[in-house]
Symmetry: C4
Subunit: 289 residues, 4 copies
């Protein structure tokens, strides 16, 4: 059920309208992976994306850049022009271009070519080409890794179901960090690196999440006592998101038992999905599903 829903969502910008014969062919090559040409296109695309991401990463290494700057220049523009063509072809071949352009993949496809053009004005931006890596998510669809997509969706569903609880938790973590960070700022002062409240809040987050860089660390006895309290708190409350998520995942492994249809006789709800009669008044329940 999960999987079918997601498959539907994924292709809904490509259904409905009839296309002319050759646009249909183009569509099956670019969006489909059933035909031989379609599979080949996908594999070439994955290789191109991977090489392009690798090129962006290596071009940021000083030693490589100085020696091969022209290679990186041509690679970057080559891949960008290639992906620009691909993006235009996608817009042309897809059944509902507007829906595609606003879909998750449509936005990623656009963001994957923009940084090179914007980079002409703001040079640093071009490294954001790394966002192309998100295009590789398509890999799951192409190689029919449907099970993985299903697993990912189980995880995402549990995450969505527990998102309210997790937001409450994050709000608590942030509030604690701001209050304790300010406290440490008052106690420690600039000498130990707590130069301002925002920086002290940053330190509190580093400590509470048990990351602990050590670039800022309390030096006074009182500061260290409070810091020790924050650490133990952080060590303890990591149990909260873990507990939330574990409980949610375990729940998702057990089938739903209670229907939310009301009894037509007495209007009460909370009947089991296999119930034929109302457990409160004995009246017949309508057929569920």
């Amino acid at each position: 059920m999960q999987a079918s829903k997601s498959r539907k969502t994924r292709v809904n910008y490509n259904t409905g309208e009839h296309l002319s014969a050759w646009r249909e062919t183009l569509n099956s090559i670019i969006f489909g992976a059933e035909t031989r040409a379609g599979k080949l296109f996908d594999i070439v695309l994955i290789i191109a994306i991977s090489l392009s991401v690798l090129a962006v990463m290596l071009s940021s290494v000083e030693a490589f850049y100085q020696q091969y700057s022209w290679v990186f220049f041509y690679t970057e523009w080559g891949f960008t022009l290639l992906f620009t063509c691909e993006y235009i072809l996608r817009l042309f071949a897809v059944r509902q271009p507007r829906l595609y352009a606003r879909s998750f993949y449509g936005i990623i496809d656009l963001l994957s070519i923009l940084p090179t053009y914007i980079g002409l004005l703001f040079p640093g931006i071009k490294y954001m080409l790394i966002i192309r890596i998100l295009r590789l998510l398509r890999i799951f669809r192409i190689f029919k890794l449907a099970e993985y997509v299903d697993e990912a969706e189980t995880l995402m569903t549990a995450l969505k179901n527990s998102s309210q609880k997790i937001l409450v938790f994050l709000y608590a973590v942030l509030t604690l960090s701001i209050v304790f960070g300010s406290l440490l700022y008052v106690i420690e002062g600039s000498a130990s690196g707590f130069t301002s409240i925002p920086k002290s809040v940053y330190w509190a987050i580093v400590t509470l999440t048990t990351v602990g860089y050590g670039d800022i660390a309390p030096q006074t006895p009182l500061g260290q006592i409070i810091a020790a309290g924050i650490m133990i708190m952080g060590y303890g409350i990591i149990a909260v998101p873990t507990g939330i998520y574990s409980a949610e995942l375990i729940k998702s492994y057990q089938p739903a038992k209670v229907s939310n249809e009301a009894c037509p006789s007495c209007g009460k709800i909370g009947h089991d999905t296999d119930a034929d009669f109302c457990k409160y008044c004995g009246g017949a329940l309508e057929e569920i599903e």
Copy 2:
């Protein structure tokens, strides 16, 4: 049930006594969010609190303070006087002022204005105005984020139920930290930064909670072996609070029990303990308990 209980607790300093007409109006504006004026008041208050917290944070940044010290001076006194008026009005408009003054929000409201006045004597204290951030907790009530309040209460209930176990755990963590900290003090000595037992205990907490600043670190082989033991212990016993909390949350998700009485009409079982009629044939069930 949880939610209703909490709602009751939250307003119980505002029930019972009758007020004169205009105090009633003031009450509905300040404490309520049902009327238009009440909602407006709350929104203005949230903006004022947020700006005030932001001002406190920015005033601690040296660069900003030197340039705009007078802005921060007036903002601080402005917001403090505003919140002082608000506090007095609250005391005046509420039905049971004593209960309000001793309630969680009443104390926070007072603590949110005191630091400015105390700051006249002890300048550093004024940064504790940051505690105003706790006033934002009201945001949940104002925007009818009742679900979030419910989620928070599920989390808090599970936390309270497991608090005895967690206290036992914290006691064990502290005892381990004191014993191992002292051991490292004897082994390492001042050369590696273990200058006293309290500092070594601080180091042990930093290590056991996997924060690991690195400002103090063992240098001798024996010290490193024991430190490795502490780390593995800390890495392992994080399972304890997580296990406690997960088990508690999962327990709180458990659905109402199933009775093991069979239906006298059709003989089938699996009825809920609150069922009066058989869900398979609609026949009356015998009284259970």
Copy 3:
């Protein structure tokens, strides 16, 4: 059941033998907390232990020691002589002195006085007086914190039940640390601080447990790639002890359902605790419990 068993274990060195009247009185004062004198003795003892632990901690702080060295000297010897008298009285008043001397508290009581005497020969040892803190565990018994003792035992029982799994896990963690530590030693060499295999193994433990001091850190690209792998592994396998312990605790919340009595007719086992007849052959089962 758990609690009663533990209470039995705790006092079994104080049962059986008859004592003369005044030794009986001494016994009830020292070991009991029911009489007024017994409660007073316990409270005085807890205060004495706490002060003594505090004195040991403060005596290690250079600034305090230089100013008050004679105070610390007298405090240390005073408390040690006091606790020595108490230990001798305990041996004298208890019903089974040998069992007491070998019990957990008996050993802790002895270890709490030895460091001062050994400290005459090896000065550093005296800081191990901190072990006196373990004597404070008695606090739970004295203040009738039986619930806490019960909670602690639930946690310990779950820990014991999962100890085999946790040992297997620790063995895996140590083996991984030794193999990856050696690998990094070969790759990084002394320049980055990986001066020997034992030190590299120490680094691998620091990294795998997500402590991350940063006193030793890989500098070469290959070393950093492998280090990243170790970190992700450590981040992932923390799930293992947590999962083990959570599952064990959740199991301990559900009542035992299956008896291990065999059926007298067919010899098969696996009957529910509430079964009166064998589910395989229909023969009557003997009364269980």
Copy 4:
């Protein structure tokens, strides 16, 4: 079932073919632990492996090496020649040498002797002799620690069952690290140690896994804000593998199901699905399924 399957897998290179009498004896000594000679051989082997691993570790410590270099030289060659003989004897005595050579232990046995020989050409390689530690896994078989093997297999089964979910999770962690690492590279630049995208990705992994060395740390306000986000994310998503693994382990603990058929004689329910007779009255149950 688990255990028996694994035992079968472990010995399947030693079944089938008939051997001459003295090769049979050799086989029982080397591969078996039932005879006295076989047990002695295993114990000697474990001691030899442990000493050899210890020698490799100590030989990497500069201070020891300079003083006892000739001792380490002879120990290394001595153990290597010994294990080479053992490997040849194993190949000779085993029933199916090819299967053995390709089995897990066969490969480990070979890898445990190769580094010394390759070390003649590439000196650093010899430290990889540490891989001999994996040979100690045999310890579980020799001392009949079958329970531990079973526990390890429960853990491995749960790990295998959740491996798809964990792979999805690791893919997400890596993608996040690459995107956020690049972002920090653009924001921070070389001044703060973010000298290239690969190095920034390494930093993102160090931060997301809450290791936090602190050798690289953001210095700009924007960088610190994003870093704080990554930390909170890392602190939160550790819940994901933990939840997956906990849920999987708990599922593996679930007892056999209870049928919901009532007993035709006494009408009571709650019988196990494998029950043939009622556990309350002893009457025959109808065939279920």
